[in-house]
Every structure is written in structure tokens, then in C-alpha cells.
């Protein structure tokens, strides 16, 4: 074992230039394998499970719905699934577009649900944290909450008792925060639609500017809130389900929202996200470029894997030929061939580990996670390296002392 390790360290540290080439090649290999695996993973998933789109009044809306499997994790970062993470990245990209405002609210992020007593606890709390709500929140209010939290209406009305006893089919009355008054008007219908659910809300009022409430030591601003008597959309049978609704407001009329969304989905290899104008008119063109994109990337990844594999095996083959005299000398000194071969394998394992680092780093910086299972990545990297090593073993097998001594293997 000591001998194997010595040969390995020798291989690793002498001739750095040559080793750097090997490492670079393997980094490329690993990265390509990563892309390949990631795309393969996406191709297997059916698009309808993950999101759908709906439409409402005078703006754009993207409804991003996640299935139950996907949400077990929402609290548990470690278990976030790949698709969910990529979806997040798509949303992030859309949101960062400077021509759009994106507001989203999630069905289960409700905070004011079920306030039953009129006692305001805030006077007892000394320090107040102000929450910066950049996305739309959807607090569910009880009838008495308006009084308890001193909320004031700038136009329209408060909720009434009837609002809490709606018959099915009646739209859910909602009161909007001040900022949303630039987008919606009293009486506007907000519609939610995905594969399973559809629900309607009607705007019945607007809050005054700078409204908010304090619970314990936290201040929740409501300027971007949609207040409702029940969670919107109403899902009486699937109370655990997670719904995320994205509203995209354009700063000017000539922004092609679908193009922006297509861009984001294509860039991330996500499925097509259909954006519908909220006024009910179907969008002209919903491209499926992202799905195509996934296939093209996958195809390119296969090609480049093959190219990486052949160049890696070429480099290794060349190196083995160069090392043949050294290996003959090892044999002369009583070091058996298997030790030489094992040390090459050990060396490659070190390179594999090193070559994983950039890929993992890139994946983390984009998605905050490694989207492809680690063992799968390592397995494929090992497989590629294993194949690339076959010619090396074949060269080493040729290591013939007789030839060497008769100087037919020369330095």
C-alpha cells in the first residue's frame, strides 16, 4: 500500500502541467455530465404537474402551482426537489427583469388567520420589527380584525358577516392594499385557475396607504396585501396544498411578457410557462422553446460527453505511453504492475473529487443546491474515467522489460 501511495503522489505532484490538462478535461467532463443528468431529469417530469396558467382582469398572471410531493420540502430546504428549485430560479429571473413588476402571493403564507379576540397585544411589546413585504401577502382576516388592528378603508367597504357565509360559486370578496389600487379597480374580478382548481375573487375595497398591523413584535405592512375572509384560492378539500400566484405587471404596454417568461424558462431549461393576459384574451404565441431547449442541451451534452471522453482517454493514453519507461523501471525494481495500475486508479479518484468542485460550486451559486443527486454524478464521472483508463491499462500491460532492456522502449 505504501508503494501504491508513493506512486500515486508522484503521479499527482510531478509534471503539474500535464496533470492540469487532465484536471481541466475532467472538470469539463463532470460539468457536461452534470448538464446531461440535469436535463434528463427534467425530461422525465411531466410539465402539467408543476404549473399552469390562468387569467384575470387587466394584467398578466402566471399561476405557479406545485404538487404535493414538491411541497413537503417547502419548510425543509434540504429536501427541495430539483424542479422546484429550477422553478424558483425561473421566477427569480422573471422578477429581476427591469420592465416588469412581479408580485406573488402564496396560498399558505397567510398570517392574520383566525384572530378571535379584540385585544391588541402590540402595546405590550417594546421593540417592533418592520417586515419588508416585497411580495403580495394574502392575510385571512376575521370579521373583528379590522377593528382590532385599526385598519382603515380608502374606498369600498369592509367585510361583512355575509362575506363569511358565502355560498359556493360566489366570488370571494377581497380588500386590496394601497399599491394594488393602481392595477385593480373596485368590482374587478381576480381569477385563479390551474389544472384542478379555479376560483374568483371580487375587489370590494382598498386600504388606506401605509396600512399595516402589528402582531407581537412584528409589523406587517399591507400595501401589497390581498385581504380576504378565506384563503384564496379556496380549496376546501386540499387544505395542505400550496398555491403560488404570480402577477406580472408591465411598466409599459409594449413589453412582451410572454417573451420575458420564455426567456427565463429557456435559460433555465424549464418547461414552457404560459402567460395569459388578465383581460381574458389568449396570448398570441406560447412557444415551447424551453422544452426544445432541454432536448437540444441534452443532445449537445451527449455529444460533448463523448468528445470529453475521447480527449480524456487520449491524454491518458499519451501519458501512459510517456510513462512506459518509468513503469519498466518500477518493474525492474520489483514493483508489480498491479500496484502501478492501482496507483493510476487512486490518482484518478483524486482528480474526480477535484473535478467535482467547480460543478458543485456553479450549481450552488445558481440554484443553492446540487440539482443532480451527488452519487449519480460521481457514478457517471467514475464510469467515464473508467472507460478512459482502459487504454492506459492496455499500454501498461505492454510494459515489457525485455523490450525495455533491448532499448526498444526508449526514453
Amino acid at each position: 500500500m505504501k508503494v501504491v501511495l508513493r506512486i500515486t503522489t508522484h503521479n499527482l505532484f510531478k509534471n503539474m502541467r500535464r496533470n492540469l490538462t487532465i484536471l481541466l478535461n475532467m472538470i469539463l467532463c463532470t460539468f457536461v455530465i452534470f448538464i446531461l443528468l440535469q436535463n434528463y431529469h427534467f425530461l422525465r417530469k411531466r410539465h402539467s404537474e408543476y404549473f399552469s396558467s390562468g387569467k384575470t382582469a387587466s394584467n398578466y398572471e402566471v399561476a405557479f402551482a406545485v404538487d404535493e410531493d414538491e411541497i413537503t420540502y417547502a419548510n425543509d430546504k434540504l429536501n427541495l426537489t430539483h424542479m422546484f428549485l429550477v422553478g424558483q430560479k425561473v421566477i427569480e429571473d422573471i422578477e429581476s427583469n427591469s420592465n416588469l413588476f412581479v408580485y406573488s402571493f402564496a396560498g399558505n403564507s397567510t398570517r392574520l388567520s383566525g384572530i378571535q379576540n379584540k385585544v391588541d397585544l402590540s402595546p405590550f411589546i417594546e421593540e417592533t420589527i418592520v417586515f419588508d413585504e416585497s411580495s403580495i401577502s394574502n392575510p385571512v382576516l376575521s370579521l373583528n380584525a379590522f377593528e382590532a388592528y385599526h385598519l382603515k378603508i380608502s374606498s369600498g367597504r369592509f367585510f361583512t358577516e355575509e362575506d363569511y357565509n358565502l355560498e359556493s360559486g360566489q366570488p370571494l370578496p377581497v380588500i386590496l392594499g394601497y399599491e394594488l389600487s393602481s392595477v385593480f379597480q373596485l368590482g374587478d374580478i381576480i381569477e385563479y385557475k390551474d389544472n384542478e382548481y379555479s376560483d374568483q375573487a371580487v375587489v370590494v375595497g382598498f386600504l388606506e396607504q401605509n396600512s399595516g398591523y402589528v402582531i407581537w413584535n412584528a409589523y406587517y405592512p399591507l400595501d401589497r396585501a390581498i385581504l380576504s375572509p378565506f384563503e384564496f384560492p379556496r380549496m376546501f378539500d386540499h387544505s395542505n396544498e400550496y398555491r403560488r400566484i404570480q402577477f406580472i405587471y408591465t411598466k409599459s404596454d409594449d413589453v412582451d411578457v410572454q417573451a420575458v417568461v420564455n426567456n427565463a424558462t429557456a435559460k433555465n431549461g424549464f418547461y414552457t410557462l404560459e402567460v395569459s393576459p388578465v383581460d381574458g384574451v389568449q396570448v398570441t404565441e406560447t412557444k415551447t422553446i424551453s422544452e426544445k431547449n432541454v432536448r437540444i442541451i441534452g443532445f449537445l451534452a451527449v455529444i460533448s460527453t463523448i468528445m470529453c471522453l475521447s480527449s480524456l482517454s487520449m491524454i491518458l493514453y499519451h501519458r501512459a505511453t510517456e510513462d512506459l519507461p518509468s513503469n519498466c523501471i518500477y518493474l525492474c525494481c520489483g514493483i508489480p504492475l498491479w500496484k502501478i495500475n492501482i496507483s493510476v486508479v487512486l490518482e484518478m479518484i483524486v482528480w474526480i473529487i477535484l473535478s467535482l468542485i467547480p460543478t458543485i460550486a456553479i450549481s450552488f451559486s445558481i440554484y443553492h443546491a446540487v440539482l443532480v443527486p451527488m452519487w449519480l454524478l460521481i457514478f457517471f464521472a467514475m464510469m467515464i474515467t473508467g472507460i478512459a483508463l482502459v487504454p492506459v491499462f492496455m499500454v501498461n500491460k505492454k510494459c515489457n522489460l525485455d523490450m525495455f532492456i533491448r532499448e526498444r522502449i526508449v526514453f
Binding site: 518509468s326 525492474c332 508489480p336 522489460l401 532492456i405 533491448r406
Partner: protein
């Protein structure tokens, strides 16, 4: 019982019809500690003979006894095992690893000895001293002269205290002055360690330094 004995060794190369008989009914007896020079024309089979002695090649027929044991090498790995700690080899082309220092090249001869790092160090240092190349220990072979390289190679062959030291034209790539030096060094070190030395050479002067000369005839 002699230390080394070859009994009617035959060796040929090539397929049946085009086969070249290189060694025919060769008999050789070498005593322990003896210094034997093997001489003969180019292509007469000196290297072939040395290869058989080193376990690199095996004869077509005949027997090879070393230290009373019948040596039968059936595979390359058996050859490696046989050479380990028994046979030291010095070649005309030095056979040093270029990115090992002189020290590391000599130490290589001890890798399979199972010695501790510390013991290796003392042995290699002793060997460097005996060879008079202590100050060269951190140099790499490409920066050494031919004579210096051959000393390193001798050091590596001898450092593990083999009982049999084989040298195939060890002075073939050296100039006359260096040649004398290397040969004296070889025979001196050999006397000291008590190993048996077999040198292949076509140089009369070299041969005269040895106890005995064995002439190999061409067939």
C-alpha cells in the same frame, strides 16, 4: 552446490519455421561472490542470457538454479516477485526516472523491501556516500553526467543488498576514463556486499577486472 547454475539452456526466438536459435545447450556455473564477465559478439545472446538470469525471460528448455532453488518463471508478475530483493539490474541506458532526484532513484530500490522510512534513509545515505555522490542527491538525472547517472543506477541496484547483480554493458554509454572508474566501483561495492556480479561487456579491459570471463559463441 554452486550459487548459480544453468543446465543445458536452450532459447530461440520466433515461430517454428523462422525461428532463431540464440542459446544452445548452455551450461554455466557461478560461485557465490564471484565476478563474472560475459563476452561475445553483438547479437550472440548476451542480453538474452542475462534476461533469463533476471527472470525477465524464461528458457525454452533447461534448468536454472539459484541458491539451490529451481527457478521457473511462468509470468511477468512471477518475474517481478523473483527479482524483488534478490536481483539487482544495471543497464547500459541507466534507466533512471527523470523526475525523481538521485536520492529518490536510489530509494526506489528499497520501496518493495518493507523497510521503514527511517531505515530507508540510512541505507540510501550510506549508498550515496559509498558511491561518492552525496552532494548530487537532490539533482535530477537530466542534469547529471553519464558517469554520475550510472553511479545512481548502481546505487539503486545495490541498495537492497541483492545476492545477484546483473549488469548489461554498464559502461557502454560512457567514455574510457569514466568506464574504468565505474567498473572498479562496481567490483569494489560488490566485494563489500558479497553479492555475485555478472557483467556483460565487449570490452577486454573491463573483462580483465573480473575473476573470470565467459565467452558466449554465436550460433
Amino acid at each position: 552446490m554452486p550459487f548459480l547454475e544453468l543446465k543445458s539452456i536452450n532459447k530461440s526466438f520466433g515461430k517454428a519455421d523462422k525461428s532463431v536459435q540464440v542459446l544452445t545447450d548452455l551450461n554455466l556455473v557461478v560461485e557465490k561472490g564471484e565476478q563474472l564477465a560475459i563476452m561475445g559478439k553483438s547479437g550472440c545472446g548476451k542480453t538474452t542470457l542475462l534476461n533469463i538470469l533476471a527472470g525477465i525471460d524464461s528458457p525454452d528448455s533447461g534448468e536454472y538454479y539459484l541458491d539451490g532453488k529451481l527457478i521457473q518463471i511462468k509470468s511477468a508478475s512471477e518475474g517481478v516477485r523473483f527479482r524483488r530483493n534478490t536481483v539487482g539490474i544495471v543497464l547500459q541506458q541507466f534507466a533512471l526516472i527523470n523526475d525523481f532526484t538521485a536520492y529518490e532513484n536510489i530509494e526506489l530500490g528499497l520501496w518493495e523491501s518493507g523497510l521503514s522510512k527511517k531505515d530507508m534513509k540510512t541505507q540510501v545515505s550510506n549508498m550515496l556516500e559509498k558511491l561518492g555522490i552525496t552532494e548530487l542527491k537532490d539533482k535530477y538525472p537530466p542534469t547529471l553526467s553519464g558517469g554520475e547517472k550510472q553511479r545512481v543506477a548502481i546505487g539503486r541496484a545495490l541498495v537492497g543488498n541483492p545476492s545477484l547483480l546483473l549488469a548489461d554493458e554498464p559502461t557502454g554509454s560512457l567514455d574510457a576514463g569514466t568506464e574504468q572508474h565505474i567498473i572498479s566501483l562496481l567490483s569494489e561495492l560488490n566485494k563489500e556486499s558479497g553479492a555475485t556480479l555478472i557483467i556483460v561487456t565487449h570490452d577486454e579491459e573491463v573483462a580483465q577486472k573480473c575473476n573470470r570471463v565467459f565467452h558466449l559463441e554465436k550460433h
